[in-house]
């Protein structure tokens, strides 16, 4: 696992490292048909693309065949490229890259790559699902977009506009702001702008401090409009959310925090062991898919496993999921969940705040599925 484990985003990376370790250690026989023992080796990229590529070389030298990374498409794209080059140059030392969180659609479109497999849903899929959900939300008329000023933020805005045009052509986008990543301390002026524009809904792909400070400023100004967010559940954000009294926060993601059954069990176990929340469910799908592919090929050879992963159908946390062969984008369902106080039905307290993300609606994989422009180059063909 190559990830930023220190620095400003270190808390997220550390949480995810624990997620990999925990899930790898607790897969049962059905989930791990190959019966292999997964060992997770943490490598700290400090969130830098250059550092990540150096670590990839180190991993290849150590004989590691499976690399996982997720936080930041700015790292994911060069890393995927580096994996492809390394595999070409070092036959017998191939590496499969499991992307569990970087959501730039480019990874499975114009920059798609045979050795890269994405287990998170990309931005185009999330926005397809979100705008589909908005069809049923009649009170949405004037949407304001606030996003971070880098590729991810711009893509959220772009795909949202495309999706809303298709699903709710009557909705107006009354304003659009891009904030410098992690630079803004005072969001009150943005809130004043939102109010002046007459916004009744906010859509944002921001994460971390840029999201929590925005929510706080909205609370302070008494602007209680519904917020549709990507990353309301990431480390630290729930604690900040719980301090405010924001009316409605919806999250669009592949999961929510109140899974019954197996995933609920894993979340509880994770909490008991680390007193932290397990929210990166893509880790589970990645490991299950990997084991399935290994069982099918009766091998841990990455060349064979990569071939088996293509088009693989497996039993993921949202039911059956399929790794699409054309672009290596996992096809999975999406959840819209709502931030609310815990109750009898939704009892998992996120970050011990007494609040939770309660499921509102499940959107089937076909709704979230988006076409791809990928022209995959396969080795040996």
């Amino acid at each position: 696992m190559i990830e930023g484990l220190s620095g400003p985003m270190g808390n997220v990376g550390t949480n995810q490292f624990k997620s990999w370790q925990y899930v790898a250690a607790h897969l049962n026989a059905r989930e791990n048909p190959a019966g292999v023992k997964f060992e997770i080796v943490p490598m700290d990229s400090k969130s830098s693309p250059q550092e990540a590529i150096n670590l990839l070389k180190a991993a290849v030298d150590q004989g590691i065949h499976y690399v996982a990374q997720g936080n930041g498409s700015n790292v994911a794209l060069p890393l995927a490229d580096a994996v492809a080059k390394s595999n070409e140059r070092n036959p017998g030392k191939e590496v499969i890259y499991m992307n569990y969180a970087a959501v730039d659609p480019a990874s499975t479109n114009e920059k798609c790559n045979y050795w890269h497999f994405r287990f998170d849903a990309d931005t185009s899929m999330k926005m397809a699902a979100l705008t589909n959900f908005m069809k049923g939300q009649g009170e949405i008329h004037n949407v304001y977009l606030v996003n971070q000023n880098y590729s991810h933020g711009h893509q959220v805005a772009k795909y949202f506009k495309e999706g809303i045009e298709r699903n709710r052509p009557d909705v107006k986008i009354v304003g659009e702001d891009y904030v410098a990543l992690g630079q803004v301390k005072d969001f009150a002026p943005y809130v004043a702008k939102m109010r002046a524009a007459g916004a009744d809904t906010l859509v944002t792909g921001s994460w971390g401090q840029d999201f929590t400070l925005l929510v706080k400023a909205m609370n302070d100004a008494g602007l209680n409009i519904p917020i549709y967010a990507y990353y309301a559940g990431v480390s630290g954000t729930p604690t900040a959310l719980a301090q405010g009294k924001i009316a409605e926060v919806y999250q669009i993601a592949y999961n929510h925090s109140n899974y019954p059954g197996r995933m609920g069990e894993l979340m509880k176990g994770f909490k008991a062991q680390y007193n932290d929340d397990f929210y990166t469910f893509s880790v589970y799908n990645a490991l299950v898919a990997l084991s399935d592919a290994m069982a099918k090929t009766k091998s841990t050879d990455p060349v064979k496993v990569a071939a088996a992963l293509e088009g693989l159908r497996f039993d993921g946390f949202n039911g059956e999921a399929q790794m699409r062969a054309t672009d290596h984008q996992l096809q999975l369902g999406m959840w819209i969940s709502k931030w609310q106080k815990v109750d009898a039905k939704n009892s998992y307290s996120v970050e011990n705040t007494g609040y939770t993300f309660a499921p509102v609606k499940y959107l089937e994989p076909y709704i979230a599925s988006t076409p791809t422009s990928c022209q995959m180059k396969r080795p040996g063909k």
Partner: protein
Amino acid sequence: MEFFTISLLNGLSYGLMLFMLSSGLTLIFSMMGVLNFAHASFYMLGAYFAFALSQSVGYWPALLIAPLAVGLVGAAFEQLCLRRVHKWGHVPELLITFGLSYLVLEVVQLIWGRNVVPYGLPDQLQGPLFTLYGTQFPKSRAFVMLVAVLMLGAIWLVLQRTRIGLVIQAALTHPDTVQALGHNVPRVFMLVFGGGAALAALAGVVAGNTYVTEPAMAYAVGSIIFVVVVVGGMGSLAGAFLASILIGVVQTFAVAIDVSLADLLGAAGLKVASGNPMEQALRLTVAQVAPMLPYLFMVLILIFRPRGLMGTRED
């Protein structure tokens, strides 16, 4: 009009907040010539101390105790570390404060963890103070403004109207004479450093819940307070005040301006072609570059008026 009023209020409160953060820094610099890189760390310590204290003794006592405690930490640091490296000049002083900032960060992470801590306001400070054209102005922001103004007044009084203030001012320019007159100059320096740290901590106590209390908070304000101090004039308290307000208001209003260079050119009859290599830069709106403006401002000040708005030092 209503947007103007709200933005002005927002700008003022943000500016006053910046002033609280940077006043201690500029004070220490003017007295001791030490550029304290750990200043933002004292700010963070203040917030964390207040968080810990508010859980046991409540918010109001914490408002008083946390800055005092951080002031003691600052004074101890001056006495035990800074004073020892003083004789080797400014670079070692700078480096040791730099080291301290890392140390504080690690200690904070060790004790309180890497996550956000739930540091909340007491009920008296929650909710809106007044509602203006439908926008609420929160009590917490008004409280920040009040504390900042009180702080400015208090510092001014201490420096101008008390005996210790006179000694501090005298020690700044003529340390040997003051020493010869029987005053303990090293102790004065210790007081100033501790006082500066306490001011930063006070900012942390009141801002820690308006913003977010987490280990990255020191890093987040670190650069902007240096901008304030440089723009205001190194070591000038009045300059820091002016610069804070200016930066706060300018940045707030800039967010509202959705005009880009391309639009201006368009108004002048020049169209920016979509294949133009400069297109991306020209299409940046003022709102998008708002967080950059203070830094731009700093560069301009350094070019055209290196001593800052109100600075007196020419060296």
